[in-house]
């Protein structure tokens, strides 16, 4: 049979956001894939050069929608590096807390998106419903559900509201009680076992070279996590594990790693670790100021230089290269999004040979977020 072309996106249920995969299909098998991006390009890097150091704080969360806080944190860290600021301990803990909450909510979204691709629509309904409790916490903390604009250079915008930690504890307990249901429905489902293992395999020896990071790299069996290899915020003081293939605890080890199954189980286990981290933060959070005493924000002059800051987002390594020429605005900001490699380079390489029924689940299991590809 002659091969035919299939366009997955931009208007398609099987893409994460607004992007397109152009597939050449022979029978049921993908023979070639090309990613087309640019549907969400807003020219962030250009706009950031036109706005002052502090105005950028309002702009950057919009780069990655499912998990905006990493942008704020990483930008703040880069600016602090240039300014040579050491932020207070309490701010570090609050940042770690916000980042972990964001990771939880992003993982809930990723797992529900994945479950949707294999046709289990009950999981998205439950998980996104539960994710709303985290958004409620954010709302109490920052005043917004999605774009928080809470972390900024020098600390965080304001201190925790009264009773916030108690409410956080409640939400954590609730989420933990729900995990059992998710496991019964998805992670111990026979058809999930049939469909996910050994699908969309990234060759293990190539994974680092291809620039795979985050949960996708850990699913290949490398225990690399920016929180451990290049620690930031309060993570050096916190005790947690890095779930990676084949250390899946109570979950069965199926397949040979680097596949959709391992990627999803790693995400599921990371949620447990996030809860563990958040519990420690509730216990250990120190008193003190939440921010440095800042100079007049309208007249910030950042010393000339280069700074690179990175954090572990739910999708992988998120980094900003910030270059200042000593002026009131950044000279150049380069955003290194994790999806840049996952969404273009990796998926174009692993798609040939996939069944078209598995293409969507592979794309979703890589958790590609198009806005951080094209910015």
């Amino acid at each position: 049979m002659k091969e035919f072309e299939l366009f997955v996106g931009p208007q398609h249920v099987g893409v994460t956001g607004n992007m397109m995969y152009h597939l050449w299909v022979d029978g049921d098998t993908v023979v070639k894939a090309e990613t087309h991006v640019g549907y969400l390009h807003r020219g962030f890097e250009k706009l950031m050069e036109r706005r002052s150091w502090l105005m950028n704080v309002a702009l950057i969360p919009r780069i990655c929608v499912p998990e905006p806080d990493v942008n704020e944190a990483v930008y703040a860290m880069a600016v602090e590096s240039l300014m040579d600021w050491e932020i207070p301990e309490r701010a570090k803990y609050i940042r770690a807390m916000v980042l972990e909450l964001a990771r939880l909510s992003a993982h809930l979204l990723a797992i529900s998106g994945y479950a949707g691709t294999i046709g289990l629509y009950t999981i998205p309904q439950w998980l996104i419903g539960d994710r709303d409790y985290i958004l409620d916490l954010f709302e109490q903390l920052t005043g917004a559900r999605v774009y928080h604009i809470y972390i900024f250079p020098g600390g965080v915008r304001w201190d925790l509201p009264n009773g916030f930690l108690r409410k956080l504890e409640k939400v954590l307990n609730y989420l933990e009680s729900r995990f059992k249901l998710y496991d019964d429905l998805l992670f111990q489902n026979k058809i999930f076992f049939d469909r996910a293992p050994d699908v969309g395999v990234i060759p293990k020896e190539k994974a680092i070279e291809w620039g795979v990071t985050g949960p996708n790299l850990r699913a290949c069996g490398y225990a690399y996590d920016v929180r451990k290899v290049d620690p930031y915020a309060a993570y050096p003081d916190l005790d947690f594990e890095i779930p990676h293939y084949p250390k899946f605890g109570d979950f069965e080890v199926l397949g040979h790693g680097c596949d959709c199954y391992s990627r999803m189980v790693v995400r599921r286990l990371e949620m447990e670790q996030s809860i563990r981290i958040l519990r420690q933060i509730i216990k250990k959070i120190p008193d003190g100021p939440h921010t440095l005493k800042l100079p007049n924000p309208l007249a910030w002059k950042v010393p000339a230089g280069y700074a690179y800051a990175r954090v572990e987002s739910s999708k992988g390594e998120y980094g900003y290269l910030v270059i200042s020429d000593g002026g009131k605005m950044p000279y150049r900001v380069h955003v290194r999004g994790p999806s840049y490699t996952h969404g273009i380079n990796v998926i174009e390489k692993i798609a040939p040979g996939l069944n078209i029924a598995d293409f969507a689940q592979t794309a979703f299991s890589l958790d590609v977020c198009p806005p951080d590809i094209e910015r």
Binding site: V37, G38, H41, G43, E45, K46, L47, E49, R50, A76, M77, A78, E80, S81, L82, M83, D84, W85, E86, I208, E209, W210, G211, T213, Y222, Y224, V229, D230, P231, Y232, A233, P236, G305, Y306, A307, Y308, A309, R310, E317, G319, L321, I323, Y331, R332, H334, R336, Y340, T341, I344, N345, K349, E374
Partner: protein
């Protein structure tokens, strides 16, 4: 071998970048464009197997384009930034996509956004933008506000009111 050792062996001057927040050291070095490929290979063979990013900076006053190749080592936990400078009016460099496959994507973006030509990369062309006719938008002399006003501000409103049923 760690980054400092490699720099010393190759006789390259380097500087340490300021880091707050993260813990790992970052080294930045300006290298000769001719030797860049060998230097990257040397780093790659010494544990710097994670290619983080390729960034481009347009230094309009100095009249050159800086390409920053950013490598990270999971063994030594170090970052290395290797900068090369190209002339700004005719930036041209060879493609290094055979070293790390994701360099191809970065080169496509930089070609589109800065107008840097990479010889040997056959996928340069339209990537993010579509039907772009102006100068590459990330160049410093491109005025985005003026462009937006001219292009989108001048589009007339369609007469409103509609027909009522």
């Amino acid at each position: 071998m760690n980054a400092v050792g490699i720099f010393k062996e190759l006789g390259i001057e380097y500087e340490e970048m300021k880091v707050k927040g993260n813990k790992d050291p970052r080294y930045r070095a300006k290298v000769d464009p001719e030797k860049l490929e060998d230097i990257i290979l040397k780093f790659k063979n010494n544990g710097f197997r994670h290619f983080v990013a390729l960034s481009c900076v347009d230094w309009i006053k100095e009249g050159n384009m800086e390409l920053i190749y950013h490598l990270f080592s999971y063994d030594n936990l170090e970052d290395v930034f290797l900068s090369i400078y190209l002339p700004r009016d005719q930036p041209k460099y060879k493609s290094l996509r055979h070293l790390f496959p994701q360099i191809e994507t970065y080169e496509r973006e930089i070609h589109e956004m800065f107008g840097v030509e990479f010889e040997g990369n056959d996928r340069l062309g339209e990537f993010i933008l579509e039907d772009w006719e102006d100068m590459p938008p990330m160049r410093k002399d491109f005025d985005t506000e003026k462009y937006a006003k001219e292009k989108y501000g001048s589009v007339p409103l369609v007469e409103e009111g509609g027909e009522k049923e």
